[in-house]
Symmetry: D2
């Protein structure tokens, strides 16, 4: 059972990052799924979604998966992120699905798979570690 | 000698990413340095600069270093990025310094070191590869 | 259907890396699983399996998954590898399971999950890209 | 001043990894340089030095740089490694030069640059984090 539900995470995200535009679709069970309604401000030259937008999605999906387990008091911060871009994404909504592989006392680690709406081909894959400060 | 000067890169950046706020300080010789005037919109819970802001800085610094060599026609795209966060950055301006280690026909690879104004302690370190499409 | 079966891959591995000790358990369908009978030579101070041994396993599992698709003529070489260590492995046999996320004309990318015999807790997770030379 | 000199590190390495063949050339000041006399056992199909050999070099160079600061009692273990391969190395001796960017109480992070004897072109670049257990 999650310590924060998807709607609690949505409120947290909207409060701290009011401009993100990200929607929390589901969270719990060491997983989270988020969605970004892609607009002009997310595109790069050539018309595809920019790399940093997908990095932000990966980082945010991991953050949501961790907070779903630990609750809002946990001031976890990203300690590393590695991302590989596999395909040029069309300018459509994007989904990021995080799965935690480890949630220890000091460190969380997991992966995020990023997709475009309407396609099963992975657009980007990220792994990410978060540092969890002592309570 | 660079194919694009710092001021040409600044115009390119302002044209394609009008909301970035990033300033191109120098470019050429397989290097580039950029600066971000940090504002409230760049902060995360706890008051430090958010991870995705630094990922964006790393990616942009690499992009500038590559375009400085290849010119604006090169539609290079990020193929991977790896970043390690070393210290929590204070909410002050940030600098990103890119250095290319390889600039091949198909792939560019380099590193980016990120600092906060007023400190010599590296805040984050990134390595990044860009894919360079055939001319 | 794989271009190289597990037994063909085993013969390839034994021919090119006679000292590896690695066994190819299965291959095909964009996946491969290998096993390393762990001995004293694989341990580090403290008695756990050394990091480079697991890096070798990750790289080899990816290589097997790629050759299973492309056949032995493809001189694919690793272009990047990222690995996170999640738990200290006991000095027992290790398994590495590779899955390809992309197999393009120039680049293959996938992940490898590493386990110790007798446990379902992932010991290490790697992502890896291979460069595929033109035919 | 280093807590372990290059010759003390060499003895440590020979004691714990008697088959490595690695020579510690220098250590101290947050840096270390090591050298591998490359032999047939280090080569891969195509005649270049294999990826895992360079991963081992990167990991070992970081380990030496850390132990040079902390001394032999520190049972530091690799927590992550990211490596990019830039050029196919000729079958000649290889050098790995590590530099620590951070040496904290819990985590060390740095980079390693790998070269072949007789060339100034970097062959591979790695970043690496080590976890430092409580004393």
């Amino acid at each position: 059972m999650a310590n924060m539900t998807a709607s609690a995470l949505q409120a947290f995200l909207d409060g701290h990052f009011p401009a993100s535009g990200i929607e929390v679709l589901s969270a719990g069970g060491m997983r989270a799924e988020i969605m970004l309604p892609v607009g002009k401000q997310h595109l790069r030259p050539g018309g595809s979604v920019s790399g940093p937008v997908m990095m932000t999605l990966a980082d945010t999906a991991m953050y949501m998966a961790i907070l779903a387990e630990l609750g809002p008091v946990a001031m976890a911060v990203t300690s590393s992120l590695n991302i590989n871009f596999l395909r040029r994404p069309d300018p459509v909504d994007m989904f990021a699905r995080a799965e935690l592989f480890k949630l220890g006392k000091r460190l969380a680690m997991g992966e995020v798979k990023i997709f475009s709406r309407g396609s099963d081909d992975m657009v980007a894959h990220a792994t990410c570690t978060y540092s969890i400060p002592p309570v």
